[in-house]
């Protein structure tokens, strides 16, 4: 088999890859600069030895997928400006070999990636700054196909085709999400046979806002539904993009609402940020600058990382006078941005300085949700706005660790040793929850108890279709199998 890449790859594959610990023979800590070097080297020198492979592991079969060697000549012909979103997008996209055709699968902030695998001839993410919204797959597919035929499309050698065939037969089931959904005329069906769904999966992943609670109010029927699922032996996991609380703090919230959920079952994006840094062996002598709330700070502390910033910087003021210089810590190796109701210009500048001036500084986003439910009464501007501000001043794309990026899904699957096809993702948002489930290759159930209405689901502008929809999760209690 082929050797695995350095964890330098992990920097770009947060949205796509399993943790280094799942691979055998873990190489460690290649510095961020190596990524830049390899990109630049391509434009200065003849094609280097085959670029690193990427592992996309299932439970039983680690799969090696190699980036084809002509990526180097492509870069020679079209050198990408270093440090730009274009370069980040290109470097973070995956070139897959499948059925004799090279497929370029998009990366960057949006999660179009796995949608292209493998049937779709192409889902090329145009190298534009991401403004996460529902992707228009049909258009991207066409544009991608045109570009592909001009640049990439090369039949692979017979030996590669054979290898691809072997991979398919060895149990690697490509996670084909709903590219076909984009062209599917009909919308998702209403959930009728809850029992069948429940029996077909082993784990339920629930989003929290709009599914379990709304603001601080529990949605009715939730405790009974969770009890029912547990009594049928199902594992329950709770995943939320809300980074304001740590897992411990969420545990308390569940408890206050009368739900018995353990900390280990909760995965907030605050935890995801810390887990991501752990997964890439972020050095303990480097610091993290946080634009966000307490949850992120607590998780970083638990993981043993030093941090600066957080809510305290909400009080800091700046004076734009001649000679005034804002200092920043040169040891900051990562900036983590999440929802922050104490957001201000000081933080924007501090984060911008770290990202622009500290070599190799990472820009990590807990999520890019446009709006969020801070109260049960209405929607509020979400983490997407804080991330958008830092993107606006640095022009760099962040690494997203929360939904719809599959980082948390991969982490869960690895941690619990479960197959993704055995999971049902239940959520109220199409562009985060359902996309998250689809990207991971799970079944998906949309509930209408949150932000998405039936009209939005069935609108012609919507291209994300879950497997089923229902009003709220307690419907699973009342819906019975058809009479046998």
């Amino acid at each position: 088999g082929t050797k695995n890449s350095s964890s330098g790859c992990a920097l770009h594959w947060a949205t796509w890859q399993t943790l280094p610990s799942t691979r055998s023979g873990t190489p460690n800590g290649q510095p961020e600069s190596s990524r830049h070097t390899s990109a630049r080297a391509n434009s200065d020198h003849p094609p280097p030895p085959p670029p690193p492979a990427v592992a996309c592991a299932t439970r039983s079969h680690p799969i090696q997928i190699r980036k084809p060697p002509f990526i180097a000549p492509y870069l020679l012909k079209h050198p990408l400006p270093h440090g730009t979103p274009e370069e980040a997008t290109f470097l973070s996209s995956s070139l897959f070999l499948c059925g004799g055709v090279y497929l370029l699968v998009g990366g960057g902030g949006d999660m179009l990636g796995s949608r292209a695998v493998p049937h779709c001839p192409l889902a090329l993410r145009a190298a534009l700054p991401s403004t996460s919204g529902s992707p228009n797959l049909a258009a991207i597919g066409q544009r991608g196909r045109r570009l592909l035929s001009n640049v990439f499309l090369k039949p692979c050698s017979p030996s590669r085709a054979a290898a691809a065939g072997r991979r398919r037969s060895s149990g690697w089931k490509p996670r084909m999400a709903s590219y076909s959904a984009a062209v599917r005329a009909s919308s998702a069906p209403k959930l009728e046979n809850a029992d069948a769904l429940i029996d077909s999966v082993e784990t339920f992943i629930f989003d929290c806002d709009g599914v379990i609670w709304k603001g601080d109010s529990l949605i009715d029927g939730v405790p009974e539904t969770l009890d029912m699922l547990r009594s049928r032996g199902k594992r329950l996991v709770f995943v939320t993009n809300n980074s304001t609380k740590s897992r411990k703090q969420y545990g308390k919230k569940f408890e206050t609402l009368g739900l018995s959920v353990t900390e280990e079952e909760i995965f907030a994006s605050s935890f995801a940020a810390a887990a991501y840094l752990k997964s890439i062996d972020f050095p303990k002598d480097k610091k993290v600058y946080v634009v966000g709330e307490d949850g992120i700070l607590k998780e970083l502390e638990l993981a043993g990382f030093q941090y600066l910033g957080g809510p305290a910087d909400g009080e800091k003021k700046i004076e734009l006078k001649p000679g005034f210089l804002m200092e920043h810590d040169e040891d900051v190796g990562a900036v983590v941005v999440g929802f922050d109701r104490y957001f201000n210009y000081y933080k924007i500048q501090y984060a911008t300085l770290c990202i622009r001036e500290n070599p190799g500084c990472l820009f990590i986003a807990t999520n890019r949700d446009a709006v969020t439910h801070l109260t049960d009464a209405q929607e509020w501007a979400g983490g997407g706005s804080m991330v958008g501000a830092i993107w606006g001043s640095t022009k760099q794309e962040p690494l997203v660790v929360g939904k719809p990026s599959t980082f948390m899904m991969d982490y869960l699957a690895n941690k619990f040793g479960i197959l993704k096809s055995q999971i049902c993702m239940v959520g109220d948002r199409l562009d985060t929850d359902i996309l998250f489930g689809q990207n991971g290759g799970c079944k998906t159930l949309l509930v209408l108890s949150g932000v998405t209405t039936l009209d939005v689901l069935q609108s012609p502008n919507n291209s994300i279709q879950p497997d089923f929809y229902t009003n709220q999760i307690s419907d699973m209690l009342s819906l019975k199998a058809a009479a046998v």
Binding site: T131, S132, G133, G215, D216, S217, I318, L320, K321, P322, G323, F324, L325, M326, D340, R341, Y342, F343, N344, Y345, I348, Q349, T352, R368, A370, V371, L374, T375, D376, A377, Q378, E379, W380, A381, G382, G384, S385, M386, V387, G388, A389, I390, W391, G392, S393, T394, K395
Partner: protein, 288 residues
């Protein structure tokens, strides 16, 4: 015509050495000169076309006098929306140049003119993220403007049942440079754009950073705009450089074609702005 030597623009141009002959030729063919003023905010350093630090660049006053005496129109363009035209006149005066209000074109004015040119109804309001410059220009144009510095210290209590109210008659959100940006303003702008039907989303510019102090670069309007794009998933209408709205407005004002205009700047984006519109361009090397 030694006076036509144009002290400010005296450095070698990109394509032609700016000798007296070329200068005379240019001045003969051009009826209006647009000077870029960018790089600065309220009290601070502006970039190197007109002045550097606190010092006026040599020959600038003479050059401007010469141009005016030849009947040439003069304009000063800036993306900095924190001041209104009136406030900029004061600023120029404080630094030793006398200009007329009609010769200055900040993006605050640009935003107000955009609304006027597009017949924005007088009964609709404007919500602005930015400095008082936008507020003033909107008032002069006859529009009611909410937000700006009044919302700089607003805080919210996020309790159960708390509802964030916003004015339903806001028909346009204008985003400019705002060092007092906070969550309240982001939320207010977001609600207007998402919930008021047909609400416009206008930005003065999308500059990522700018030298707001003389020693360092600071986040520009691009970050405020990025925040609102992030929460609304909409793209704004840009009225400042390098979008051509201001240029089109100036053309109408000056009543001439772009080939009779010359853009003078100290950086390539300025040259681009000029070229995009078909003006002649001069790159000044006295700046960045």
């Amino acid at each position: 015509m030694e006076a036509a030597r144009l002290g400010a623009a005296g450095a070698a141009g990109l394509h032609k050495a700016f000798c007296p002959k070329a200068a005379r030729e240019l001045v003969g063919n051009v009826d209006a000169f647009l000077f870029d003023c960018d790089g600065g905010s309220s009290d601070l350093v502006w970039s190197g076309v007109i002045w550097k630090g606190e010092k006026l660049i040599e020959g600038v006053t003479k050059a401007l006098q010469a141009l005016r005496s030849m009947g040439k129109k003069v304009g000063f363009v800036t993306n900095n929306s924190t001041k209104s035209r009136k406030q900029y006149v004061e600023k120029f005066r404080g630094l030793g140049i006398s200009v007329h209000e009609d010769e200055i074109y900040p993006s605050s004015f640009g935003a107000a003119m955009y609304l006027k040119v597009n017949n924005f109804p007088q009964d609709k309001k404007v919500y602005a993220i930015g400095g008082d410059g936008i507020l003033e220009e909107m008032s002069f144009a006859g529009y009611t403007c909410l937000g700006v510095t009044k919302d700089a210290n607003k805080k919210m209590e996020l309790k159960r049942g708390f509802k964030f109210e916003h004015d339903k008659s806001v028909g346009a959100v204008v985003v400019g440079l705002d060092p007092y940006i906070n969550y309240y303003k982001i939320q207010y702008a977001t609600m207007c754009i998402r919930e008021n039907p047909g609400c416009l989303f206008i930005a003065t510019d999308r500059d990522a950073v700018g030298p707001l102090t003389d020693v360092q670069e600071w986040p520009g309007t691009g970050s405020m705009v990025g925040a609102i794009c992030g929460s609304t998933q909409k793209e704004p209408i840009i009225v400042g450089k390098p979008a051509t709205f201001m240029m089109e407005f100036l053309l109408k004002r000056f009543n001439m074609s772009t080939s009779r205009m010359c853009m003078v700047g100290d950086s390539f984006p300025d040259v681009l702005f000029g070229q995009n519109s078909g003006c002649k361009t001069i790159l000044v090397l006295s700046g960045v």
